[in-house]
Symmetry: C2
Subunit: 236 residues, 2 copies
């Protein structure tokens, strides 16, 4: 019996029109759509982005919404990933194609990677469809350049002492998930004596998108020798 194909799909930062044509084609064909969510009470944002595509589908499909809670305990997390992989593997063994959707791009701080590692080693066909990352989405919304010529871009998912170390070596800094550390971030950036352009973006490409010059307390971000931009958390 034919086994199903496992497809990782990046759905971009929020605007459904930022899906790629390849993603739309795949989402119109797969049998099962897997959209992880971080809380039982909150709907999956990635799923809401592809809603319009799914509404236009003629053929039936099934939706899986495994829970990937935002916890630190590695063993506990591994259990959730294993559970999700187990359900997906059952579908693949039944000959059903499964799409795993993820905000932004599947290769950039995505929970997809944990499940992919489990399934990758087994005998299933796999494919990954890249997505628009949160930081290029933010740059487009703010109409700024991330880098020109020989400039080095640094993407930092967490504000800590590693950021102050690397700050001297790069030109543009994309700082993600800054909500819990905005004072520390401001201190680190102020220690760098170069001229700076700081831009913060919230809810990139969505109806409630906001773009600020400077810092915003309580949210995401990025930077440039010249720049700091807030971008939203691209993890699921």
């Amino acid at each position: 019996m034919r086994k199903g194909k496992f497809i990782g799909i990046g759905v971009g930062p929020g605007d459904p029109d930022l899906l790629t044509v390849k993603a739309v084609k795949a989402l119109n064909k797969v049998d099962v759509i897997c959209a992880p969510k971080s809380s039982k009470s909150k709907p999956s944002l990635a799923l809401s982005i592809i809603n319009s595509v799914l509404n236009d589908r003629g053929s039936k499909y099934e939706t899986l919404e495994p829970l990937f809670p935002m916890i630190e305990d590695k063993e506990e997390l591994q259990k959730y990933w294993n559970d999700a992989a187990h359900v997906i593997i059952e579908k693949l063994n039944d000959g059903l194609d499964v799409a795993f959707i993820t905000l932004g791009d599947p290769a950039v701080y995505s929970t997809f990677s944990y499940v992919f590692k489990i399934i990758e080693g087994m005998d299933f066909e796999t494919m990954i469809i890249p997505g628009i990352t949160s930081f290029t989405g933010c740059a487009a919304s703010a109409k700024i350049q991330l880098a020109e010529k020989d400039e080095i871009i640094v993407i930092v998912p967490k504000v800590d002492e590693r950021l102050s170390q690397i700050m001297a070596c790069g030109d543009t800094f994309v700082i993600m998930k800054t909500s819990r550390h905005s004072n520390q971030l401001e201190n680190i950036i102020n220690q760098d004596k170069r001229d700076k352009e700081i831009i913060s973006v919230q809810n990139c490409s969505m109806k409630d998108e906001k773009i600020f010059n400077g810092f915003v307390i309580k949210d995401g971000l990025w930077v440039r020798t010249v720049v700091i931009n807030q971008c939203w958390d691209s993890t699921v």
Copy 2:
């Protein structure tokens, strides 16, 4: 009289299906498509990527192919950018919408930025549509992660002493445009004593795509604490 709108569009790494839905919609509507090329004798790669979209268009459009040669002289380059901007501004003043297409994403090492800076300060409506970057395209093709959890991604457009400086501070290194410096790159990477995974990708997402483990002499690239990946030049 209504003035035209200036739209920067990222067309992704090569596969026309990696265009976003938003890009396809814009390309179907604009009056003028501007596709810069680096040499008079070579056709524009960005233009070839959108060929299938343009072939499906019912309405007429005009194509501009300004020359942006790969030269170092800044004044000389500025002259080419000014000439291109001048032709675009004429079209915008005539009420025509102009799309400027660029490989990968318009915010990442794109020639679009130079022309955008000239036009931005004038009284035209502008919009930027992000594209799939070469490095997320390469990650998808190679089925690898660029970063997980707290890992720092560094994107380096040129191999020189700045790369050896920053090497100690990051986890994943995307090295672009390595063709002219592959020995130097290999030396810099070998000086870093961590375990590494090195992946090189050529002609990402295109028919002649090639993925290698390790280095490839004479072409693009990237890295991880754990990784080095060759990706193709995302500049026009």
